[in-house]
């Protein structure tokens, strides 16, 4: 890539790329995101390339970032017809090339089949999972090879930066972002423009901007997919932010478990630097700014702003008291703006299309779209991007396709370990920052973990508290001791040792933990407990009073038994049982000895006749 010395040169490069691009030319895109890699998409891609070569064709195979519909990977799209193939296997490749690519014949068996109508659907945009989405931030993922800056430029990448540098003052950029109403996507939902303004006004050199890609919420992976699939969108947003604030240095803090994101971000930064979009005198102006990558060490608390600064500075990531705000004294005590990477990726859109356009999407106080990871007990697992204000019902049943195996929906957990569980009665809630907060949960980074009637709400509360105890940095007593005590109480309840008054005790400790903690980890730690008590109190009572786990999860409170009417005596369960708890004669109904059974669940997994019950 040549170095571009002014905005005109950028336009020229974009135009050249566009003129070389033939939209009618055959192109095969394949998702190479982490989910699809787990399904073996890299081998499918290699096979596609080999087959094209074998058949002497001139067709590009482009490995892109996550398409979103990870449930059905590996995903392949044949352009220009945009034929959408799912669950593609190596053995499908010869037909894809010789029939679809060469002749335009559609392979029915690889199309998505709508379980409701049983009809096949040819194009991605017509699949119910995608239909109501508005993929402003995430949509380009499926078109670009994240390792090539050219792919980003051709779709108009870095035009927003050029617009800001050539026609807008830093104050103008800030007022646009304020007018757009952009709120932070990393947790708290703070207005980005206000933060930027504070930092612009603050004294101290150099100033910093940071992209938070720590993505600590378990069950959320949109930040990962964005950094992996469209790293330049994050980088462009950060450069624009740096210009607005007057920052000269930036960091992207990436989670240790995301090696592919690190590689793609590193390549993107290098190629942007080569192209004159990062470094000294960006696009020939007197604005200079550069970005470094800082890899986290796998501590959840490091997603918190002051802990994150400590981690970048090379220290243990302990939060500190915020008497002075980070916009004035952040990284190395210099003015710093920290935003989530998805927040940054929204910035180029706002600058390109304008604040009024942006503010027309979403609800009154939550503008734009949000990417959610729809996971857990849901038919269509994946990443969805929807306008703020979409109801939970539309998301879970419309896009998510409901609950697998005909089971019953019980709750959706949002906001990660700081969030709460939302029950069925609130499914018509319009999802935005404020509505989620009102019902005792949070937006968090956008995880939506769906649970069915086989998920125990007390167990879920215990799970989050165990997570938070493990991740608490231990600096303040209410968090360190209070969270531990709450976990112990929950463990007792799950073990059948709960007592009357435990729920009230949990509520009482919650107040102390929330009020007495230094950072939001402790401050919001009680949420998973309080929200489950609020909406699922009867489940706590069943554990405490009746020593019963209605969902069949808590080991001390359940028993396994074999239904003699269904059991065929096949003996499979005997083979897998680690404790010799099952016995029976061949071809006759078997039985489980409860004194030996450790409730490991292996027998259920093995039984093909659905003969084993848990109560």
């Amino acid at each position: 890539m040549i170095k571009m010395n002014n905005t005109e040169a950028l336009r020229q490069v974009q135009d050249d790329l566009k003129s070389q691009y033939d939209p009618k030319k055959k192109l095969v895109t394949i998702c190479a995101g982490t989910g699809c890699r787990g399904y073996g998409c890299i081998k499918v891609k290699e096979e596609l390339e080999a087959e094209i070569k074998k058949q002497n064709m001139d067709v590009e195979v482009r490995a892109t970032g996550c398409f979103g519909f990870c449930e059905k990977g590996p995903l392949v799209i044949i352009h220009p017809e945009k034929i959408f193939y799912q669950q593609v296997k190596i053995k499908d490749v010869p037909d894809i090339i010789s029939k679809t690519v060469a002749q335009g014949d559609v392979l029915e068996k690889l199309l998505y089949r709508d379980p409701q109508t049983n009809e096949t659907i040819m194009k991605e945009e017509d699949v119910p999972f995608y239909k109501k989405q508005n993929r402003l931030v995430f949509g380009q993922n499926g078109m670009i090879d994240p390792t090539r800056i050219e792919d980003y430029l051709i779709i108009g990448g870095y035009s927003a930066l050029a617009k800001a540098l050539s026609g807008m003052t830093p104050e103008g950029v800030i007022s646009e972002v304020k007018k757009a109403g952009l709120r932070g996507r990393g947790g708290g939902g703070f207005l980005a423009g206000i933060k930027w303004e504070g930092s612009r006004r603050a004294h101290g050199e150099p100033k910093y901007v940071i992209g938070n890609g720590d993505e600590g919420d378990p069950g959320a992976y949109m930040d990962r997919s964005l950094m992996e699939g469209n790293p330049h969108s994050v980088i462009e947003g950060m450069i624009i932010g740096a210009y607005a604030i007057g920052a000269s240095e930036g960091y992207i803090y990436v989670r240790n478990e995301y090696p592919l994101a690190v590689i793609h971000l590193t390549m993107a930064i290098e190629s942007a630097r080569e192209a004159g979009l990062l470094g000294r005198n960006i696009l020939g102006t007197d604005f200079s700014f550069d970005i470094k990558i800082s890899k986290g060490g796998g501590a959840f608390v490091c997603g918190e702003s002051s802990a994150l600064f400590a981690s970048i500075e090379g220290r243990a990531g302990e939060p500190r008291a915020k008497y002075v705000h980070a916009v004035e004294k952040g990284l190395w005590d210099k003015p710093t703006v920290l935003n989530n990477v998805e927040t940054w990726a929204n910035v180029p859109l706002i600058i390109s299309k304008g604040a009024d356009w942006y503010a027309s999407i979403g609800t009154e106080n939550s503008k734009g779209t949000k990417i959610f990871s729809l996971v857990g007990k849901i038919n269509n697992t994946g990443l969805i991007e929807v306008p703020m204000g979409m109801t939970l019902r539309e998301i879970i049943y419309g896009m998510g396709g409901g609950i697998p195996k005909g089971r019953k929906f019980k709750a959706v957990q949002t906001g990660g370990p700081s969030g709460g569980c939302i029950p069925e009665s609130l499914l018509d809630l319009q999802v935005d920052f404020d509505r989620l907060y009102e019902v005792g949960s949070m937006m968090g980074s956008g995880g939506m973990i769906v649970m069915d009637d086989r998920s125990c709400m007390v167990d879920v509360a215990k799970y989050f508290l165990a997570f938070l105890q493990e991740e608490s940095c231990g600096k303040c007593v209410p968090c360190r001791e209070g969270v531990r005590r709450m976990r112990e109480i929950l463990e007792d309840i799950c073990a059948g040792k709960g007592e009357e008054g435990d729920v009230e005790l949990l509520e009482h400790i919650s107040t102390g933990v929330a009020d007495g903690s230094l950072c939001a980890l402790g401050g919001s730690a009680p949420n998973p407990v309080l929200s489950t008590i609020k909406y699922f109190r009867e489940e706590y009572d069943a554990h405490i009073r009746d020593h019963r786990c209605p969902a069949g999860v808590c080991k001390a409170l359940i028993t396994y038994s074999i239904d003699p009417g269904k059991c065929t005596g096949c003996g499979l369960c005997i083979k897998v049982c680690p404790t010799q708890a099952v016995s029976g004669e061949k071809k006759k109904a078997h039985a489980i000895n409860n004194d030996l059974c450790t409730r490991c669940g292996a027998c259920i997994e093995s039984c093909k006749f659905d003969a084993i019950n848990v109560k």
Binding site: G35, R315, S373, V375, S455
Partner: protein, 159 residues
């Protein structure tokens, strides 16, 4: 296992690569762990000396972050995802199964140094849950039956 002199030499090279920059301590430790699979005591001392950081602070950082291990790890590192999405899909039963099969608890390495068992919170492949990452390979939709197969294969491969 590497000799002490090798460890010291390699550590010095890594510190040099980061230009001795004190804020790069975490990155230095990450590189050392990548080289040796864990953080040898000799390396930690050498890092402190070479970077001018008190050993106590090096130790503080090395023990604060979950990604660092102060003990040698096995040839294969089995990471069980216990993130929320995998948890609701039965990750704890998979974890139990690994514990029974390998006879170790999370954080431990088995006697012949073949396997280490570790926990992670979400590896970003929730659609495949429950997920187990062994070395760099993702194993999705894990079942207890698959555990035996996978471990069996790895044991064979190791012989």
């Amino acid at each position: 296992m590497s000799k002490v002199s090798d460890i010291k030499l390699k550590t010095k090279q890594i510190v040099k690569k980061h230009k001795g920059d004190k804020s790069a301590l975490i990155a230095v430790l990450q590189d050392i762990q990548e080289a040796f699979n864990y953080l040898p005591k000799e390396a930690l001392i050498a890092v402190g000396d070479a970077m001018g950081i008190p050993a106590s602070r090096v130790y503080e950082v090395a023990t604060f972050y979950n990604a660092f291990s102060l003990n040698p790890r096995g040839e294969h590192i089995v990471k069980i995802c216990v993130g929320t999405a995998c948890h609701v899909r039965g990750a704890s039963a998979i974890l139990d199964k690994f514990e029974r099969t390998l006879l170790i608890k999370p954080g431990e390495t088995n006697q012949d140094q073949k396997f280490s068992l570790e926990l992670v919170n979400c590896v970003g492949a929730c659609a495949l849950g429950p997920v187990v990452v062994i070395d760099t390979e993702y194993h999705g939709q894990m079942t207890m039956a698959k555990v035996d197969k996978i471990i069996g294969k790895l044991k064979e491969g190791a012989q």
